[in-house]
């Protein structure tokens, strides 16, 4: 039961929340003087404290410093009594368990600093064990440079001990790391403490500066989580310290944990400015879903490979319009792009295909070539085209196509000489498609709805959900109707996703496609379903996914606003944004 903490926003593995004390505290943030320590049992017997609604009481603890043998820890560990008010239990990676407290204080935090593997493994282990909506407190290590990553790894509360201590030692902290005051000729900061002359800047000022820098960084981090762009921020910020970079990369490699916490879509732009972008969860998710779920519905026409465009969605860009003028829709267009890999035309709207912004210099790195080639090869192995028309520039792209098709019995026609929008290239493209049939608009639109259904609900969903599909609306505002003219789903142009109607929900429930199912208590939901009303939820549910809910009194469809594990293990907060519901008699 976490009565006194609530997660308000999630941004991948990071969370923004509120510690609900008499004066609430925003998280990730400083615990400051709201922590009331009932004391260490190493030093004395302690009485169980009375709870205080103004404080987060740290229950009597026996913390284990780094190096304490595991058997000693299990022998000496103490229970966490229940008190009447906000409480936190001290845990170590070895002793951590769900103790029913609002918060958990991790002991021996110093072990995490400078050690990417230890940081990621420890924090994720702890986060997996304690309830999703409990606050994780890490004391004594937060700096302006590492607190962003700590938040990304699931830490909710920190303190300014490290910042203050560093200041007393003349270590000047900022979001890029630490410098010795004596090495500085100027103070690179806008805080009040740094506005005087360097010569008059004392260690006491350095304390003030460090604390101001940490507080500002925490505000920045909260603001980023609110905007859904903490990963974008860290993409740059961690580069200032190799161990933080390594930690971010290790986090990217944490499959299930990260995947569960990756939203299906989000409103903000995805920046791709380093090669780590190729592997970040939102990108990996797209690539994997294309690889595992996409079905080609145009296997009688050639595959037309084209370069991505800066304008999004691609089809609206000047270059893609010229490609289609030349191709006259006589081929199935698939765009090659870093960091996503391959984007079939049906998925151009689907997050993040419409939402990424990459640093473009016109040259491909070896990693990009290899990753995109691998993704293309997987794509080709799972589709069945008679041939390929490769309307791509020579640099990088051609190499990708060669690697992807090598050893495959799939003819490739290169149509670009010079630039893809050159007249010669466009003529060659037109000629290469001579005699092929034209894909009709409606055919394309049907395929789009079905492909998005595959992407969103699983392979085969396009046919299962939209058996006899009737279209309504004007692209991209399409609706899918069934043979009776009932609407099943609407395409959400902003994210390229489908929003199901109640009829669509029933179709999904009755289909053989795996559903994202939530079992609720006996009530009629209005607007949203809160976590305490949820009995069970599949752990695979991601934020933004369509979920079916069902309980003794109601059936309906909505959009997940927390991930499945959080739904089951949280005691507060909105879990499902209800779109349609109907009573069950």
């Amino acid at each position: 039961m976490t009565e006194y903490f609530e997660v308000l926003d999630r941004d991948g593995p990071a969370r923004r929340g509120e510690l609900r004390l008499t004066e609430p505290r925003a998280t990730p943030g400083l615990v400051g003087d709201t922590l009331a320590d009932a004391g260490s049992l190493w030093a004395a017997d302690r009485t169980v404290p009375e709870g205080d609604p103004a404080k987060l009481t740290v229950l009597p603890h026996r913390a284990f410093p780094a190096g304490t043998p595991a058997d000693l820890q299990s022998a000496m560990d103490v229970p966490a009594p229940e008190i009447d008010g906000p409480s936190a239990a001290v845990v170590s990676p070895e002793t951590v368990a769900d103790l029913g407290t609002d918060a958990y204080v991790l002991s021996a935090p110093g072990q995490l600093v400078g050690h990417a593997r230890a940081l990621v493994e420890t924090l994720l282990d702890v986060r997996r064990t304690i309830p999703d909506d409990a606050a994780l407190v890490v004391s004594g290590i937060a700096t302006p440079a590492n607190v962003g990553l700590l938040a990304y790894a699931g830490v909710d509360l920190v303190d300014d001990h490290r910042a203050v201590l560093a200041g007393t030692e003349g270590r000047y902290l900022d979001s890029t790391g630490e410098t010795f005051l004596e090495d500085r000729a100027e103070l690179g900061c806008a805080c009040p403490a740094c506005q005087g002359p360097r010569a008059e800047f004392t260690r006491a000022d350095c304390v003030d500066h460090n604390v101001a820098a940490l507080r500002a960084e925490l505000r920045r981090v909260r603001e980023r989580i609110r905007a859904g762009t903490l990963r974008e921020y860290l993409e740059g910020q961690v580069r200032h310290e190799p161990w933080l970079t390594a930690a971010l990369r290790r986090l990217d490699q944490e499959g299930t944990y990260l995947r569960e916490r990756t939203p299906l879509f989000r409103g903000s732009e995805l920046l791709a400015t380093t090669e780590d972008s190729l592997f970040r969860p939102a990108v990996a998710q797209f690539a994997d879903r294309v690889a595992e779920r996409y079905t080609n519905r145009f296997s009688d026409v050639p595959l037309l490979l084209v370069p991505c465009s800066a304008g999004k969605p691609y089809s609206d860009s000047k270059s893609h319009r010229r490609f289609q003028e030349a191709a006259r829709y006589r081929a199935h267009k698939v765009s090659l792009t870093s960091p996503l890999g391959v984007v079939p035309q049906e998925l151009e709207l689907t997050y993040p295909a419409q939402h990424y912004d990459a640093a473009v210099t016109g040259s491909w790195s070896e990693t990009e070539i290899q990753v995109v080639a691998d993704r293309l090869r997987t794509y080709l192995e799972r589709t069945d085209y008679p041939r390929i028309v490769a309307h791509v520039p020579e640099d990088g792209y051609r190499e990708i196509v060669e690697r992807a098709t090598s050893g495959m019995d799939l003819p490739v026609t290169d149509t670009v000489s010079g630039h893809p929008t050159d007249g010669d290239s466009l003529s060659a493209l037109g000629e290469a498609l001579e005699g092929e049939r034209t894909i009709r608009v409606e055919e394309k639109e049907r395929a789009t709805l079905r492909a998005i259904a595959d992407y969103q609900f699983g392979a085969g969903a396009g046919e299962e959900l939209f058996d006899e599909l009737t279209l309504q609306g004007r692209y991209p505002r399409l609706q899918a109707l069934d043979s009776d003219g009932d609407q099943l789903a609407a395409l959400v142009p902003q994210y390229g996703t489908l929003a199901l109607t109640l009829a669509g929900a029933h179709a999904w429930a009755e289909s053989s496609i795996e559903t994202k199912h939530v079992e609720i208590d006996a009530f009629q939901p209005h607007g949203s379903i809160l976590a305490p009303g949820i009995r069970t939820a599949e752990s695979s549910i991601q934020v933004g996914e369509e979920v079916l809910f069902e309980g003794p009194q109601a059936f309906g469809i909505g959009r997940a606003t927390m991930h499945g594990t959080a739904m089951e293990r949280s005691t507060r907060g909105e879990a499902v944004d209800v779109r349609h519901t109907e009573p069950i008699d």
């Binding site: 320590d37 009932a38 260490s40 049992l41 190493w42 030093a43 004395a44 017997d45 302690r46 009485t47 169980v48 009375e50 740290v58 229950l59 009597p60 603890h61 026996r62 913390a63 284990f64 410093p65 780094a66 190096g67 304490t68 043998p69 058997d71 000693l72 299990s74 022998a75 000496m76 560990d77 103490v78 229970p79 009594p81 001290v90 204080v105 991790l106 002991s107 021996a108 935090p109 110093g110 072990q111 004391s139 004594g140 290590i141 303190d159 001990h161 490290r162 203050v164 201590l165 007393t168 030692e169 003349g170 260690r203 006491a204």
Partner: protein, 354 residues
């Protein structure tokens, strides 16, 4: 209101601590039994004033407790592991060696002789009555003798040879702390403070004095908890001891503390903490001294590196003069860091600073 007395099995806990400390002991082998472990000359403040001293650490076969596990901070077991005990002749040979060294290095015989064994000189299994009598006789010309022992072994008859030889006799007891919980859980020492008080009463009744040894900063305590523990312990020990020696922890090899230290879980006390304890207990009715071993090194009590020597010197001055004013004359920028550690270190974030 309920007490949060942890519901663990004490036996388990003892086992676990002994297992943890014992794993480390098993790595070691013993030394030459006819040589004392160590011996040196020094000056000591006694109830009679500043006196020259001869310290002898006897190799007596070592601490029995250490063989079962031992104290979390003590590494001496490695130096005295003749499990079968050391013979009368060997022990006297050790004394002889020490006397030869003294003769070489000093102008005359020291006023005070201090006998330690990292165990108990009064334990018959370590040092037999016959040997103790011979030792008393050997040093009969001196002014004072200090004898290390566990409280269990303090009886009038065992003290008799020394008192009868006309020596002012002090029993030196490694009390470590007046807090039984800390002594048991953090130090892993098995006697209670009550036993120390009883032993002190026996010694004083027999005409001997008591010198108490306290530990500054056992593992698992924060810097401020360690200071409070030491201050309180000094106050309580001063009730029966005329002299108290405060020993700030040094990280010794093959100890549990060293395990913690290697993984970043332990920092030896600040020298400022030593000064703080001495300063705060300056008015107790006992001589309080401290001789920080390895001061200024990473493994020993240390400050920032800039001021370690100065502060160590002030502590030395205090040892001789018992005047806390000496501490008013030293200062360093790192005091602010140390104060911050005192304010902010909790056992769940310690050590807050290395």
């Amino acid at each position: 209101m309920a007490e949060s007395r942890p519901e663990y099995d004490y036996g388990n806990h003892l086992d676990a601590l002994n297992r943890a400390t014992g794993r480390l002991r098993s790595r070691h082998e013993g030394g030459d039994p006819t040589q004392p472990t160590r011996t040196w000359l020094d000056e000591d403040l006694t109830p009679d004033g500043l006196r020259s001293s001869l310290t002898i650490i006897l190799d007596t076969g070592g601490c029995r407790w250490a063989r079962a596990g031992g104290c979390t901070m003590c590494g001496y077991v490695s130096e005295s592991e003749n499990a079968e005990g050391v013979s009368h002749e060997a022990l006297l040979a050790q004394i002889e060696t020490a006397l030869e060294r003294e003769a070489e290095q000093a102008d005359g015989p020291a006023d005070v002789v201090k006998l330690y064994s990292s165990g108990s000189i009064l334990d018959d299994r370590e040092v037999g009555p016959e040997t103790r009598a011979a030792i008393a006789e050997t040093f009969a010309d001196r002014e004072r003798i200090v004898i290390e022992t566990l409280p269990d072994f303090v009886t009038a008859d065992r003290l008799e040879p020394f008192l009868e030889a006309g020596l002012a006799t002090d029993v030196a007891v490694g009390i470590e702390t007046a807090n039984d919980r800390v002594r048991r859980d953090a130090v892993n020492k098995y006697f209670d403070f009550e036993a120390v008080e009883e032993a002190a009463a026996v010694a004083r009744e027999a005409g001997a004095g008591v010198k108490g040894y306290l530990l500054l900063k056992p593992p698992f305590l924060t810097e401020s908890e360690a200071i409070e523990d030491a201050v309180e312990s000094i106050e309580r020990v001063a009730a029966f001891a005329h002299t108290i020696s405060l020993n700030p922890t040094t990280v010794m090899e093959d100890t549990l503390i060293e395990e913690l230290y290697y993984d970043g879980g332990y920092r030896p006390p600040w020298l400022w903490s030593v000064a703080e304890v001495l300063n705060r207990t300056a008015d107790v009715d006992a001589i309080v001294v401290s001789d920080p071993v390895g001061a200024g090194s990473d493994r020993g009590p240390h400050n920032c590196g800039e001021c370690d020597e100065t502060v160590e010197r002030a502590i030395g001055d205090f040892n001789r003069r018992q005047d806390p004013a000496v501490f008013g004359e030293v200062s360093c920028a790192c005091e602010r860091t140390w104060e911050t550690v005192l304010e902010r270190e909790q056992s769940y974030n310690m050590p807050l600073e290395r």
